[in-house]
Each structure stands twice: as structure tokens, then as C-alpha cells.
Symmetry: C2
Subunit: 219 residues, 2 copies
């Protein structure tokens, strides 16, 4: 059965980096927020494409590997695709390179005029949708064919799905740093710990991995 998953790196004070800018497309502090993830063997091999690369193989890597497992479709916000930074470039194909690390249909949420889909080399096709998040999610679930749907981000998109009660599993990798500003994940999410079970684990890097999993409904 398809689960809807969210997977983010945040700081101890709850920020998933700032708004993207041209100079820092993923926001200031992104490197520090994702340092432990970027050091994993999974990231280096799977995202950077460094075949046979070394990298950490501990707790962080287990979560990095799980990130890619069982995903049949992805939903992301316009900013994560870079539409906000390239609003007038009809040829913009995102900043994920020629072989985006998705390998599945990706639904990009946008309020601007729809664009034709973009098919990439490795099975990734970007679709642009301006409907409700519930409607786009339904389409993604259909496309996933029984596998999971990941709501990839950014944090505003993730929060919209979380607040709507659409997320079955939320994993956050909490870097032990205090950023002091940016896009907060936790606002308005009071009670998520009542509908979801919470499990925490500390990685060798000091990253605290916290996972919220929706409890099975009692019929």
C-alpha cells in the first residue's frame, strides 16, 4: 500500500534552510544542514554518481539508502525545481543535471502557466501541475503503482502536506547546529505526535534522526 513520505534535513532549531536565492539556491547553511547526508556512501554513489565511491556507512547512510527505497513518484514545490529562480526560461530543466536522482515521475507544483512535461535520461519525467495538493497527490499515487510517494520539498510544500494530514511518514535528519532563521518546519504541526509514532536515533555524526510514522487506524 502506498505511503506518502517526507524526508528533510533541518537544524536543531527547526529550520530547513532559508529561501532559495541565485547564489544559494537551496538557502544559506544548506551545506552544514546536509553535511552528514552528503558524506554518506549512498549520497556519493547515488546522487553524485561516483561509482565505487567511499563514504560513511553508519546510521546516516542507512537513512540515506532508505530515502531512495520504494519510491514510485515524487511531488515537489516549484522552488525546489527552480521555477522561482528561472520564471522566464521555458527551457529550464531544473538543477538536477542530466540524470536527476529520481528515476520516476516527478510532479512539480506551480501556480504559473503549465509547462509541457520534461523527460530525462534515467526514467525521470517532470510534470507541472497547478491543482490542489490533494489532486496532484492522487495523480502521483496512481503513477506510483503501489510504491510510495515522496513529497520531496521544499519545506513549505512539505508543511502543506503535513498540515493537511496527508503524510504517513516524516523523517527528519536534525543537524546539531543552530541557524537562527529561515524556513521553519514545525510551525502549526501541534499534535503530529498523537497521530504518528515517534522514534529517534543518534548517528555517529551527531545527526539526530527522528521518524514520525502514522499509526495504523483502528477500525
Amino acid at each position: 500500500m502506498t505511503r506518502v513520505r517526507v524526508d528533510l534535513n533541518i537544524s536543531l532549531d527547526g529550520y530547513a534552510a532559508g529561501e532559495p536565492t541565485a547564489e544559494h539556491p537551496m538557502g544559506l547553511d544548506w551545506d552544514r544542514l546536509t553535511a552528514a547526508y552528503a558524506a554518506t556512501r549512498t549520497f556519493r554513489r547515488r546522487v553524485l554518481g561516483e561509482t565505487g565511491a567511499d563514504g560513511t556507512t553508519g546510521v546516516d547512510d542507512a537513512y540515506a539508502a532508505a530515502y531512495f527505497e520504494g519510491i514510485g513518484a515524487e511531488v515537489m514545490g516549484a522552488a525546489m525545481f527552480g521555477l522561482h529562480s528561472h520564471p522566464h526560461d521555458p527551457d529550464w530543466q531544473g538543477w538536477w543535471g542530466d540524470e536527476p536522482p529520481f528515476g520516476c515521475p516527478v510532479y512539480v507544483l506551480t501556480h504559473t502557466a503549465p509547462r509541457p512535461p520534461i523527460s530525462m535520461a534515467n526514467g525521470t519525467t517532470f510534470h507541472f501541475r497547478s491543482g490542489s495538493i490533494e489532486g496532484v497527490l492522487a495523480e502521483a499515487v496512481e503513477a506510483a503503482g503501489g510504491a510510495d510517494v515522496r513529497v520531496g520539498g521544499g519545506v513549505g510544500t512539505a508543511r502543506a502536506f503535513l498540515r493537511a494530514g496527508l503524510v504517513d511518514q516524516l523523517h527528519v535528519g536534525i543537524a546539531p547546529i543552530l541557524i537562527g532563521g529561515g524556513a521553519r518546519l514545525w510551525d502549526d504541526l501541534r499534535g503530529l505526535d498523537r497521530t504518528h509514532q515517534v522514534r529517534s536515533e543518534v548517528a555517529e555524526s551527531g545527526t539526530v534522526h527522528v521518524t514520525f510514522t502514522r499509526e495504523a487506524a483502528t477500525a
Copy 2:
């Protein structure tokens, strides 16, 4: 050498409970925030005075025991003593009972007219001070006689000392709950992870214990 320590229970979204009210003197959600701490053997024996009581003896209890070790003086805000709830009662002695769990001089920060000190049964004496936090801390350090000084709270007082760079060790017990509002600990503390080393540990209860320890100065 005296260290200045702060020790708080917060939620995953960074709240140390709301402002105290008559009905909830320690703020709404206090019970949930402190449930793991209140379940420890140390709390039951040391704070509740239940001699020989049971209680958890795992990771949470180790931190609960450390909370009481080596403290020679305490500093707390007026709200934590209850002055804000009882501003017109000159006989108010705090809500810590006849045997407050301090056993040392306690300096209560207040902007209202100074009160005479209150000496309790077990070596606890409450002093009321309206000077700068640096000045009150200096007096507390002197009184501690080489032992540590704890800045007990509430969160506003703790943040004032943290922002002024006066805290050598910050321990937070992070309950895996999302409160969604109240008094935030983390605002304006960017960079604390650069002056302090951060260590994290997950307790059997699911509480995540994070400790910031000031790195030794390199002369």
C-alpha cells in the same frame, strides 16, 4: 572551576512550555514535557521526597541525577519563583514547598521592590536581586564556592544568559512532542554550536538529550 549550567525540558519544536498561569503555573503541556523526567527514580526521591521510591533508572535518570550534582548556587527568573502570579503577597515563598529541591542559595531575578531573603528548612535561601544578570551571576558564583551555578529558568531567563555568552553547559531534554506554541528556547541562538561542542543521546523513553559544552579556550 565553577561552570554555569542550564538544564531545560523542551519539545521537539523548541518550546519550553507557555507562560505560567494560575491554572498552569508552569505552562500548558508541562506534564507532557516533563513526563520522562518525572518518571525517573531521581525525581521521585529527590524532588517528591518519596524515600525508596521506584522510577526509571536509565538514560533519563542519569541526566536527572546529573542535574543535582555539583550545584552550589541557583539563579532563576521571577516567574519561576511565582512572583508574577503572586505580586502582592509579601508572604509568598514560592511553590517549591517547605523543602525546596535546591539546598543552596537561590537568586531570584526581579524588577519589583526587593524582598528580604527567605530561608527554608534544607539549606535553601531565596535572595531577590534586581541588578544586571552579570552582577547577580557574579554573586552566585561567589556563593557557590567553586561548585557550579545553575540558571534554572524559566526559558526567558535561560535565553538571556545564553545570549550573553554566560553559559558553559546547556542540557536540553527534548520530548518527542510538538506543542505548536509557547516560549521558544532557540530564537537568536545561532552560533552556539560553534562555541560549544554538541553531544546527543536518545533515552529509552524517546527523549533526546542534547548537551552543549563550551570548548576549552585555546590560549
